[in-house]
Symmetry: C2
DNA sequence: TTTATTATTAGTAATCATTATTATTTAAAT
DNA sequence: ATTTAAATAATAATGATTACTAATAATAAA
């Protein structure tokens, strides 16, 4: 029989796993990894599996409900989807939010390039944050061989 | 006995593996992954190992001889270390160079932020390139569940 | 409310890029 | 030529992420 559902194909279901993961990401100012999100969410849902966390995070990302930030091969997630950049400390690996940058760049405002239209963008700044700089007696060696 | 070598600590040796990898990266306009670099370099050095390629690429990156570009969990390398951004096509996954952006942004020019000094940065634009757009009858669905 | 349907999940195994290890090789200093 | 330690090749290990499958549970239909 014919359904009245306007959605073609699969219907999205509301589950508490989705809600708790999104609520957690909206509640924190940090940028947790999937692994950390899994550990935190498991406090509320002890039976949740890692695969579920990864799948839900990917779905949220694809729906632009969260942003993904790649740091040293690990994906971190940001519940704040407003336009902003990130500063990543090469010592403590903390991720800092940088607002007030995107309205300056004409390219970002126009969202157009010769090669194609910009759907999305990511800006990463790297350096040593002031906290870490204060702790350093000298600057670290350039080729530390570490990622 | 005391050495006259100005370098503190380890001495860097010149090897053909390093030279061939860097020459390859300088010669191409594309942005190959470590895996592809390994396959290409092996044509000249059939006995080179993957570990060597990864280590040399990391060293080159740490010495700012090459740039690393992270796309979908895979690290790609760019022999052009001049200031430029990248446009990544979400369909064909090609990486396009975008020049003429960095001189616009005051923050990038000043290299200073409240949180710390900018040593380095990466700008990624995402979208569908014109080539792929021409092939598409309609826009793809948002949540394709693919990375 | 009960039943049927199927999206979603939990648990686990598999994948795959990258890193670590170690014996061997080799560039360069003596 | 000999020495020495940096670099390599080969291989194993790691670890984040994905794939798979049987069980569960959110909706729709009866």
């Amino acid at each position: 029989m014919i359904t009245n559902n306007k959605n073609r194909g699969s219907i999205e279901r509301i589950t508490c796993q989705k809600e708790i993961i999104l609520d957690y990401l909206k509640s924190v100012k940090t940028h947790p990894s999937a692994e950390l999100i899994f550990r935190e969410v498991r406090k509320k849902l002890p039976r949740i599996s890692q695969g579920t966390v990864y799948r839900i995070l990917n779905n949220l990302k694809n729906k632009d409900k969260v942003k993904a930030i790649s740091v040293g091969g690990i994906t971190h997630f940001d519940g704040d989807v407003s336009s902003h950049a990130h500063f990543i400390c090469q010592e403590c690996h903390n991720i800092y939010d940088i607002f007030d940058i995107c309205q300056e760049c004409q390219i970002i405002k126009e969202q157009k390039l010769k090669v194609g239209k910009i759907k999305n963008y990511q800006i990463y700044f790297y350096g040593y944050c002031k906290k870490c700089r204060a702790k350093m007696p000298r600057l670290p060696k350039k080729d530390s061989n570490r990622k």
